[in-house]
Assembly symmetry: C2
Homo-oligomer: 214 residues x 2
Amino acid sequence: MRISELSRQSGVPVASIKYYLRKGLMPAGRAMGATLAEYGEEHVQRLRLIRALTTLGGLSIAAARDVLAEIDQPHDDPRGMLGVIHYALRTPADAGATGAEELTERVDSLVEAMDWDVSEASPHRLALAASLRELSRLGMDFGVDDLLPYATLAAAVARLDLDQIDGIEDRMALAERAAIITLLLEPVLALLRRLAQEGEARRRTAEAAAPHTA
Amino acid sequence: MRISELSRQSGVPVASIKYYLRKGLMPAGRAMGATLAEYGEEHVQRLRLIRALTTLGGLSIAAARDVLAEIDQPHDDPRGMLGVIHYALRTPADAGATGAEELTERVDSLVEAMDWDVSEASPHRLALAASLRELSRLGMDFGVDDLLPYATLAAAVARLDLDQIDGIEDRMALAERAAIITLLLEPVLALLRRLAQEGEARRRTAEAAAPHTA
């Protein structure tokens, strides 16, 4: 298909498509002449992924390019790729990730207590330490014992996540799926938590008002 | 204390403090003369909260002011306040929240299946619908049955969250704590999930490589 049809099918304006091509987020189409190129279904899918990463995922164009480059790499171990993609993705809390070294010990203890096999190089260790430091400064010191119940639930979420990519043989499809699950399920989980918080808060208020009725 | 001492104790530069005062994020100090004001411990605490909301929380100055204004309001029901604060906070996925009306029915079914008492006016309903639509566009259609296991875990997280503010009598302290838990625990949970994902991915890879050893 021509670029105009690609724009129609993907819902992405032609100017944006050209911009993504120029920035290297998307492979070029098959050249059909000096100024004409032919695009395929894979370009439609790629455009949808770019849009999802940059809008819902909140990634910059540069960050999206890094993630897509990672997805395009061949990987020996399909599941290990998840970790690589992870590290390319923005860290939710890297704004304050310096000077939190004193709390990384607590993170290390937690990872050990959960028996998680996590690379020493994972940027999420320091990011978590930074978040804990910030909470501690605000008077909420979360020790390992306070974090364990949350970590146990996170492990259960991770099992559901991995179930979503089990059995996918195609490496490209697997990488794409892994990025989508990690990045785009994050707001879904945050929203489910907020809805659940409101439900739980109202339930407790109702129970406090009428303690003798269940 | 004077503004210089407030700056020292809070770690926030004097220029930033003056900016927050001007923007109405913080109550003025007690006037001690034409150009002198006296600040107290509550100003130190407030500055820490402003920094946390705007750095780790990722809020704009305007959004932080809205949240703080909500915290400063008197509330009849301390727990209900959580919901009000919620709605003032940024929605993780509001970037694509238009045109997802067709998926709100799915969200409504989920909320009903979970027996969550959530206001019809909650902006998180539409935001969740928008996230689900985006996932569906990318080939991952999450129906109510797919979402239920995630929602069940979110409910467990919400119970832990509410436990953190149980027993706090002071309304101001409660509101502040609620905002911190909702907003600043979000990156913590996201990071725990990513660490858990890496652990789970490696565990499954190891099991697949050596299926006969446990």
